[in-house]
């Protein structure tokens, strides 16, 4: 039966239309041949729908919204007979232009729909746009009927995650990746077998919302620099078209959904790094893309005289706790969870999300509370980068409602310092190994995302290869990027053939990774660290679309020992639930031993409040408590000292014996019962031992690694 509201009531130049539906916002297909366009603006006095054929500079029609098509602050209309594969759309709005009072309407500007599900204009990464085109970022309509074949978000328990942070383009763009569709979602898909082999179960993607790689683009020493990382959103609902090999065919959404579906089939969750704290429109001099031309006063935090607050360090600040913007963010996240099956989000500069409309931090920010309690987001992971560029630092105090985890910057700093022999960091390291109960004591260890490196800063190998940042290629006279890296080059700055130094660097990478993967809390690894990827000392590669950022897969073969160490430690973590316990318990358990204990060179003799460089820590994992195959003790000896150290091992129950699982030293040392109940670790090394039943007394069971 034909519905009455499927009949057009108006016609302009052969295009038929009628009053639309206010919800949902954006462009959505209705009936057999209609597209419903709906857009909010509180202060606009006039709105026009502008329709283009794909890539054309001039629209084929402009349809003003009649007054009867506006309900409240929403303009909506249904247009019939459009070819969605060829269609691009935008809006023109009019209203007051009075910047001092926050109004910036300009009827000449064609504006992107904030709810556009796909954006064209940057379909092929790095392809120079036509700068004369008055409409740079164009809304497109997609069919939202993807065949998920029964897939849904995986809902892996948070405490079981091993997160792998990567950049879609960097991951496979280099020739050495060996994939067919380099630098794209389809290329990442080709690497799923590799990710499975490594053993991670969650991939966190640097921003994949549509952004403009040409924002602040420039040429330095003949090299084009881009907005490479993409921490500057053009549209919160659209995948970055330039990351899709199929974007020229309008299939970016399908390509990304296929990637997510296949990652899920491989048991790997997908987490997105999302940027809601600011947009790509910059400050007062920035371009009109969308929000400032649609409702400037709603979308941005403005000073009393109409300038943009800049808590993001990027020119503007989203007005996140305004009801309209809050709903826009919530709608976007719900969309990514329901339509893309995203498993979680990491919020860039999330402290901004707790600021009120005047920029002041709130104790119970409505947006964060809404996110924590939202129905659709109910099972997805929420992770905060709990600081902002305006000086608000909330690590350990981010308003969480028990739902939010945080990037634990203190874990990163402490571990970096300790492994380069800062003994004074020893006592703090004890807290970090426990899951940081000093920070998250009223929550749980899974609130702590433990990491040593991330996209922002040195790679792990550069952390042990450079004392100083080397960012000249960024064209900012080496003034950009952090100066506080807590790095140590192991004797010579940068690349070297010196075998001793290289050997030490390999040990240090493994030492750091070993502690990370044996700590309580959620480990996060920067992609490429598992094969000693380098950025040649650049600790802020935000603009480098070249070998500085692209993973060099040749290093996987060259540094196979590091890859194998990561793989082994990830597998070990997966096999031992005691490492993943989230409630900070370290008291005595069914084994009769403390569940997590700390030791000096002699067991049980340790002053954890005084500086130290060598220590051991032991987990007791009774099978009856953890449902494992057999009782186990996990002992890790850590020697961050520059000379060898002997460790006497704790006595474990009769019938059990120690076995070396992993050792980062080069001297092939391992536990030898005949040589006594101790192990000697060479300078700057780590040894992991497993205490389990003697083979002669075992009834069978799984091999541990």
């Amino acid at each position: 039966m034909m519905r009455i509201d499927e009949c057009p009531t108006h016609e302009l130049n052969g295009i038929k239309y009628r009053c639309g539906r206010v919800q949902p916002f954006g462009a959505s297909i209705v009936g057999n041949s209609g597209i419903n366009f709906s857009v909010f603006s509180k202060d606009a006095t006039y709105c026009e729908l502008v329709l283009f054929h794909h890539g054309m500079k001039e629209p084929f029609i402009r349809i003003p919204f009649p007054e009867e098509f506006r309900i409240g602050n929403v303009f909506s209309m249904i247009v019939y007979g459009l070819d969605i594969e060829e269609l691009e759309y935008g809006y023109c709005m009019d209203g007051p232009y009075d910047p001092e009072h926050g109004y910036r309407f300009d009827r000449e500007k064609i504006l992107l729909d904030p709810y556009a599900k796909l954006v064209s204009g940057r379909n092929v990464w790095g392809e120079e746009p036509d700068w004369d085109d008055p409409f740079q970022h164009r809304g497109c309509v997609i069919l939202e009927d993807y065949d998920w074949e029964g897939d849904k978000p995986l809902e892996i328990p948070m405490n079981d995650l091993v997160i792998y942070e990567t950049h879609v383009r960097s991951f496979t763009k280099d020739e050495s990746s060996g994939v067919k569709y380099k630098g794209t979602f389809a290329g990442l898909l080709e690497k799923i077998p590799y990710l499975k082999e490594l053993g991670i179960n969650c991939i966190e993607l640097l921003p994949i919302f549509e952004f403009d790689e040409f924002e602040n683009s420039r040429v330095v020493d003949g090299e084009r620099l881009y907005n490479y990382w993409g921490y500057s959103t053009v549209c919160f609902y659209a995948p970055k078209a330039g990351y899709a090999a199929s974007a020229p065919l309008g299939l970016a959404a399908d390509e990304l959904k296929n990637l997510i579906k296949q990652l899920h089939k491989a048991g790997i969750e997908v987490m997105l790094d999302v940027v809601f704290n600011h947009t790509a429109e910059g400050n007062e001099q920035g371009p009109y893309i969308s929000y400032r031309g649609i409702d400037n006063k709603t979308y941005y935090l403005l000073t009393p005289d109409g300038y943009y607050y800049n808590f993001s360090g990027c020119g503007n600040t989203m007005n996140c706790n305004n009801a309209i913007v809050r709903n826009c963010i919530l709608d976007a996240l719900r969309y990514w969870v329901s339509d893309y099956h995203i498993d979680g989000f990491r919020f860039d500069l999330a402290a901004i999300l707790s600021r009120d409309e005047n920029g002041a931090p709130m104790t119970s920010p409505p947006l964060l509370e809404s996110l924590a309690h939202d129905a659709v987001l109910g099972k997805c992971k929420l992770i905060a980068e709990a600081w902002d560029a305006g000086g608000l630092y909330q690590v350990g105090s981010f308003p969480s409602w028990g739902r939010w985890a945080e990037w634990n910057g203190k874990y990163r700093d402490c571990l970096r310092r300790f492994i380069k022999s800062s003994a004074e960091c020893g006592p703090e390291l004890i807290w970090r190994l426990k899951g940081s109960p000093d920070l998250y004591g009223n929550r749980c260890a899974e609130a702590s995302i433990n990491f040593i490196t991330c996209h922002d800063g040195f790679t792990m190998f550069d952390l042990v290869s450079y004392n100083e940042k080397h960012n000249m290629a960024n064209g900012e006279d080496n003034n950009d990027g952090s100066n506080d890296n807590d790095s140590w080059n192991c004797g010579v700055e940068g690349e070297t053939d010196d075998k001793e130094i290289l050997s030490l660097r390999h040990r240090q990478v493994k030492n750091a990774a070993g502690i990370l993967l044996l700590s309580r809390g959620i480990p996060m690894i920067l992609s490429g660290d598992e094969f000693a990827n380098t950025q040649y000392g650049n600790n802020n590669a935000y603009c480098q679309d070249n070998v500085i950022s692209w993973l060099d897969w040749n290093r996987l073969k060259k540094n196979k020992d590091i890859f194998e160490f990561f793989r082994k430690m990830i597998a070990f973590r997966a096999e031992h639930p005691v490492l993943r316990r989230s409630d900070f318990y370290s008291g005595e358990n069914s084994s009769g031993y403390p569940e997590l204990s700390f030791h000096g060179a002699r067991p049980w003799e340790f002053d954890e409040n005084s500086p130290f460089l060598a220590f051991g820590f032991m987990y007791a994992e009774p099978a009856v408590d953890y449902g494992t195959v057999e009782d186990a003790f996990i002992y890790c000896a850590v020697n961050a000292y520059w000379e060898s150290v002997s460790f006497e091992l704790p006595v474990i129950p009769d019938g059990m014996e120690w076995e070396t699982v992993a050792y980062t030293g080069d001297d092939k040392a391992k536990y030898d019962k005949a040589a006594g109940n101790s192990v000697t670790l060479m300078a700057r090394s780590l040894m992991l031992l497993l205490g389990h039943k003697r083979k002669s007394t075992r009834k069978g069971g799984k091999k541990n690694v």
Binding site: E85, K180, L189, S246, L251, N258
Partner: protein, 100 residues
Amino acid sequence: MFDFKVTENAGEVDIVLKGRLDATVAPQLHEELSKLEGGDIKKVTFDVKELEYIASAGLRVIVFTKQKLGADTQIIMKDVNKDVMQVLEMTGCNNFVTIL
């Protein structure tokens, strides 16, 4: 310009696609394939030798066919050129069709 031809014989359906299968013509093909009934049909072969273009709407007709006829019906694409093959690979449609 798009053209198609559907022939059915003894549980096997052959569909020849020619030209550009875009959003303006996909509904015609969709309507025609809606007439197919699962159960008796064991194999559907899309001959795409002369298919020049397929994107969002066209792929959905293939997916629709697979869903309508059920898991027991084999979906085959024959004589797939390089461009069409790339579209299938990039979107994952190659996972459920047999490429000949």
